[in-house]
Amino acid sequence: MAKKLMKGNEALGEAAIAAGALNYFAYPITPQSEVAEYLCWRLPQVGGNFVQAESEVAVGNMLFGAAATGKRIFTTSSSPGISLMQEAISYMAGAHLPVVLINIMRGGPGLGGILPAQSDYFQAVKGGGHGDYRLVVLAPASVQEAVDLMIESFDIAERYLTPVMIIGDGMIGQMMESVEFPKKYRQQNDPSKSDWALTGAKGRSARVVKSLFLDGKKLEDNCLKLEAKYVEIRKNEVKYELYKVSNKNKVLITAYGTMARICQTAIDELEEEKISVGLMRPISLYPFPEKEMFKEANKPNILAILDIEMSTGQMVEDVERVTKSIKPIEFFGHTGGIVPTPEEVKDKVYEMLKKFKKDKKKS
């Protein structure tokens, strides 16, 4: 298939179709609305279903019901809309249901603004809803990666029977980039062979999909069953990318999503000035690349770590946790839709290196 020029939001819609996910429930919200706009004409062409709900609370509960049928289902929204879905997300995690959720993040808290942000890291990674559960959280940095992760996320959701969330800053949804889709699209899945989906109990005993366990022992069993899955997920689903990482690096930058691409521009320009900086970009935010990041941070050439985000500092807490703060960690970020520039990233690196020079002189 020839390369097409697509807006991230349109590409996410097409990626779901490529994954054989033809059942979509959503409510429009900037900067994500083009997914719904695209799928409202595209899904009928491929025999799919799009229900525009009356609110995101309704979307969440529609997903819960539809996911129990075992069909591939998904939604897309932006920050305030994802907040409204949290109750249902917790229920779906507790009930072991596969579902794919997209959050094209805008600035918060509250109604916030419509410009790009990464301030829903805590909500996605640390559990926006109640209870002992985790989401698999993936963060693309380009439209093509968003497409690839979208397709893969349905497989992950089904493999572990768990909700998977893709978080992209507003830029991922709004920017246009060239993109390619798989030659062969997946057929819609057939849940009749599954051993958990509600497909009609004719000829077999009834199944129950629920998250209510009044008996403490049974609830603990369910939580342990969930935790056992998360152990497997932490073992198998870690994804990250290294950029210009070498034993010459003085500073290791950590950043995810499109923020990482801004850091790459800064790193390229610093390289021309003979300042060596590497980048570690977590792609899976849960499971976080824990061992891998510790290994990179622990290398003797690394003087310090610089974490950059479009937030006041959220992922940085995981960077501190997994590197055990073995090296000094600095943070730089902007919020409200103001995107840190390559110049600001470079200035921060200059400032850090200056500090090290001074410290060296003192000692």
Binding site: A2, K4, M6, K7, M175, R261, T265
Partner: protein, 255 residues
Amino acid sequence: MRQDAMLMATALKENGYMSGSYKPAYPSFPRQIIIIVGGFGSGKTEVSVNLAKFLAVSQKTPVTIVDLDLVNPYFRSREATEELEKLGVRAIAPRGEQFHADLPILLPEVKGAIENINGYLILDVGGDSQGSKALGSLNVSDKTNNFDMLLVVNSRRPATENVETSIATMKRIEYTAGLQFTGLISNSHLIDETDFEIIKEGYDLVKKLSKETDLPIKFISAKENILQNSGINKFKCPILPLTRSMLKPWERGIN
């Protein structure tokens, strides 16, 4: 309008145009109102901003650009306001807090600019029929014979990927805008992955579309360096040289 070809060439060169050896034919505009319309993501804003810059540099007449995009929340021509104002272009777009709003704000100055037209007026309209609703609410039709409505065609976008979809898109836009197209713009691209083949593919499509609709090809818009390296003379129509204004935060404005 500036008649002196030498003066025009000097002004263009001073502003970075005609940097290479080739001599393209540039588009000319006998009508004052230039309406740029097309499918979502066809490149209307980039074409509008570049057209405003080109006219400001090459013509001795005021140029006004109106950001009529009430559909997109990011990457709108208002983001190029500073760059345009430096060249003396008057840019009409929501300012202050409303700059970033995803609300259908139609400024009163827009109607004023149409009624008391002075020099060139470029209308950068939002995508497809949804975007053209704002255009329909303006009384451009009163200015019969003084406007051009041009379709931006990008063969790598669904709304204009072939003759059939392009004609369907044109019909939808004409219906909501209440205006008829007067010409076509060949703007096929994949942003930074654009090569000569894609420009050629787009030109071939627009040629077919032109035959089918009886509308003239007003110009091809493309980066000068791509044309420079690959035989610009293959095209028998004017060229609007593009430099990218709508950059992503990690991109540098080289081309």
